[in-house]
């Protein structure tokens, strides 16, 4: 075996040599024994490397911990603001609140004007329902806008409450808004529909729900008539 062949053979034994040096194995395998018999370099490695490793272990041993480490950690915990956790429900609540507020501010023109839909039924609920919130989200998504992260949540919440109070006096059955989330007004392609807009275009044509497009709309729901303007 020439020097080059021996070098290649040594490289093949590196993993076992290292494990021997570090004490992960205690005895060389029979095959390594055979190699050590003919390779002085690896033999020297096996003889000296464990000593070096032992010395290094001692020299690099971990020192004592600072005595106030736990107190330091405690202080840090108290000083830190808790991280915001963006779970699915948190995001949904934020998006819903922001979208509802922005929709109320910009896309629902009837609020506080003479062009509000005229309800034919006395409202049964006085709060913005989940269905209405989902509808508002759907409207917002369909409008292609994406500014809700710019709106402070408190302001949005305040606006939702204001809209709820206003609609409380005027809106129709089941909720402040005259439609439900399952109604499909102005639907995009089914694959692009947001949550809340689940009906097909055929269903829409058949039931004549309000189309949220154009300047005026008129629709009936649960026997109540709604008219209004969206421009």
């Amino acid at each position: 075996m020439n020097t080059e062949q021996l070098g290649a053979a040594c490289r093949a034994w590196e993993p076992e040599l290292v494990r021997l040096a570090c004490g992960e194995t205690t005895e060389p395998s029979p095959a390594l024994h055979t190699h050590l018999a003919i390779c002085g370099e690896c033999r020297a490695y096996v003889e000296s490397a464990p000593q070096l490793v032992t010395k290094l272990r001692t020299a690099l041993a971990a020192g004592p911990l600072p005595s106030d480490l736990v107190a330091q950690i405690h202080d840090r915990l108290l000083a830190q603001r808790p991280p915001m956790r963006f779970t699915g429900s948190t995001v949904f609540r934020l998006v819903t609140a922001a979208a509802a507020g922005l929709f109320a501010a910009f896309l629902w023109p009837g609020v506080g004007t003479s062009r509000d839909p005229t309800p034919a039924v006395v409202p049964e609920t006085t709060r913005l329902t989940d269905a209405d919130a989902a509808t508002i989200v759907a409207v917002w998504v369909l409008s292609g806008c994406d500014p809700w992260l710019d709106e402070p949540v408190d302001a949005v919440t305040s606006r939702i409450n204001e809209v709820s109070r206003t609609l409380e006096r005027r809106a129709g059955a089941r909720g402040p808004l005259p439609w439900a989330p399952e109604d499909d007004w102005d639907l995009p392609a089914p694959s692009d529909q947001p949550p809340g807009a689940r009906r097909s275009a055929d269903w829409h044509a058949q039931h004549r729900r309000p189309v949220f497009k154009g300047t005026d709309f008129a629709a009936t729901r649960d026997g109540a008539a709604f008219t209004g303007a969206t421009s």
Partner: protein, 179 residues
């Protein structure tokens, strides 16, 4: 419990006891590891920050099959973030002096402390990838399989780095370690 307490930034008695247990069990090894990745002062900061984050998320730590690897990974990431923000700094002069004398000085008559200092200096002079494997194996006590997992390396690469590091140290230290 951990999340709730973490959110309010305060630990109850059970959590504090759990944190102290973690610090006692893993703190020395974390500190030894981080001291070889960054400066001693930064190392203590990193360790405190790692445990702080662990305390904010005890749940994840409890779910982890290997909390030591969880904490070491967090420490490594923090050190790397810190190092990215800073320009590389040269070794402190005393460490360079010690490493030079480790090469040049005669081994005879050295005190144990002096030998230890020279060994540390020689390790500090290793290239960072080699040094990290040496510290993880010899100070933290991880097996090579765990080292490879932690560093995202093939097992063969981890072993090869250790082999190269031992070779460098044998050459650099001469007969120092035999005494």
């Amino acid at each position: 419990m951990g999340v709730r307490s973490g959110l309010r930034g305060r630990l109850d008695a059970d959590e504090r006891a759990e944190l102290e247990g973690l610090v006692a069990e893993f703190g020395p090894r974390l500190l030894a590891y981080t001291r070889h990745l960054t400066s001693p002062q930064d190392a203590e900061d990193v360790v405190a920050e790692v445990f702080c984050r662990a305390a904010q998320n005890f749940g994840a730590l409890r779910r982890s099959a290997r909390p030591d690897l969880y904490l070491l990974t967090a420490a490594r990431n923090l050190c790397r973030d810190g190092l990215r923000r800073r320009r590389p700094q040269p070794l402190p002069p005393e460490r360079i002096d010690q490493s030079a004398s480790a090469r040049d000085g005669p081994p005879a008559g050295l005190t144990r402390d002096e030998t230890r200092r020279r060994l540390r200096a020689a390790v500090a002079e290793l290239p960072a990838p080699l040094r990290e494997v040496v510290v993880l194996r010899l100070t933290v006590g991880l097996r090579f399989e765990d080292i490879a997992g932690l560093l995202g390396l093939p097992l063969g690469t981890a072993l090869s780095r250790m082999h190269t590091a031992i070779g460098c140290l044998r050459e650099r230290l001469g007969r120092l370690y035999e005494h």
